[in-house]
Amino acid sequence: MHIMEGFLPLHWAVIWWILAIPCLIFGIIQLKKILASDREALPLLGVTGGFIFILSSLKLPSVTGSCSHPTGTGLSAVCFGPWITSVICAIVLLFQSLFLAHGGLSVLGANIVSMGIVGPLAGWGIYRALRDTGVNMYFTVFLACAIADLCTYIVTSLELALAYPAEVGGFLSSFALFMGIFAITQIPLAIVEGIVLALVFKYIVQLRPEILIRLNVFPDEKIRAAGSDA
């Protein structure tokens, strides 16, 4: 769940915008470079954005019985890298606030930092660390997506705790409380999202492995071997 419109005080909304903007500028520079070298990439990036929008708008069955939604950014970070993902995510978050009233405009900076920057960066870091090792490809995707989801919610808790520190214990106490509340649904949800996106990845390997080969997500031989095993 994103932070909603009006929930952060003005100064915090501005601070998160200030943090998000340089990352977005870097993402846009990368986007321009990609589009300059491969014009066909634009529609493909576009459909990924559409996919993230749909995915993060779908209700996900959670083992706690509650319903929430995956972020979908882990898979995008694995396929396109974290900076391009931040630009795609910023657009998706804008659309979600205007199409579904999820999130908001003043808090867009804060939501971009949590869902579009820190989450994908963490997921991408895990993926890069495990990509060329002997670790199973699907497990790598599972871990990258689950960690991206978890980090998103850790940063959301951080943003709320910084804006509303506790009277006793200050920021840390407030952070622990917000984390505790999120943990009830978010830890099982992150695991389920990891499993779901690893299964999605497997589905793509089986049916359209050339997509993943083109994006150079994993070495060709690894993808082909996994595709022929299935």
Binding site: E5, K32, A101, S174, L177, L199
Partner: protein
């Protein structure tokens, strides 16, 4: 997800033909004034004024309008309860210290803080929903282009916008088929069906992207998308109404800056 996107309503609402900048001034002005306000009064006034404008002038169905607020309001309510419990100050009504580093209390100041945050949420959400329900995305694209947003980002946004509707219909078809075949009977089957659904949608969206490339190439695509113009011209009555709304709201922000709920 809603059966109907807010965008669908925005295409048919009673304020559809009002100038985009006029509507944005009301929505963005409302958000800014909510954030500048230090009391609950101005955000509540903004919430009531914009909600009335949506329900009467824009002719939005009241049930749909309430439905939009339910999800975010539940999350806001939980968060406000946490804020009330962790904030302190003033007369203490209830206190509990479950851990040495964690003290929960309900005080006069914390109730004021919680209600203030909730009213700011209501004001902010009403302003956001006002933009969402009255201004179609195509009009916003035109405004963004005039505001010199990077062309690549705008083109990407337009493709994402188009793809959302393409994928949506595909997704509904697959999902209905899965439900008819009892694909969501248990947690295990739900996870499997959901993954299949996401995978099918990813591949379908990818293929639609490839089709789009071919279609654009066939029409001499040179890296730039054409954008439609933005709405009608600025008219006196709506502009005056928005100006009055903003002036009254700003007046309330200033006049009520020291007022608290309790």
């Amino acid at each position: 997800m809603y059966d109907e996107l807010l965008e669908d309503i925005a295409q048919e609402n009673g304020l559809r033909e009002v100038n985009t900048y006029t509507k944005l001034a009301a929505g963005l002005g409302g958000i800014l004034l909510c954030l500048l306000s230090t009391s609950f009064a101005a955000p509540l006034f903004i919430a009531v004024a914009l909600s009335l404008a949506l329900l009467t002038i824009a002719r939005i169905d009241a049930k749909t309008y309430l439905k939009i607020f339910v999800g975010p309001a539940i999350f806001a309510l939980f968060s406000v309860i946490v804020i009330i419990l962790i904030s302190g100050g003033g007369e203490i009504f209830w206190r509990w210290q479950p851990l040495p580093w964690l003290s929960l209390s309900i005080t006069r100041v914390s109730i004021n803080e919680g209600l203030f945050v909730f009213s700011r949420f209501l004001g902010g959400m009403s302003s956001l929903v006002f933009i969402a329900l009255t201004t179609p995305m195509t009009d916003l694209f035109a405004v963004m282009r005039r505001a010199r947003f990077p062309a690549e980002v705008l083109d990407l946004a337009m493709i994402i916008y188009r793809t959302i509707f393409l994928i949506m219909s595909h997704l509904v078809l697959v999902y209905r088929a899965q439900v008819m075949r009892l694909g969501y009977r248990s947690i295990r089957e739900s996870v499997h069906s959901y993954a299949t659904l996401c995978g099918a949608v990813f591949i379908a969206s990818w293929e639609s992207g490839e089709d789009l490339v071919r279609a654009m190439e066939a029409r001499c695509y040179d890296g730039k998308f054409a954008a439609l113009g933005e709405g009608g011209p600025v008219r006196l009555r709506p502009a005056l109404a928005v100006f009055s709304f903003l002036v009254i709201s700003a007046g309330i922000v200033v006049a009520t800056r020291h007022i608290s709920f309790m």
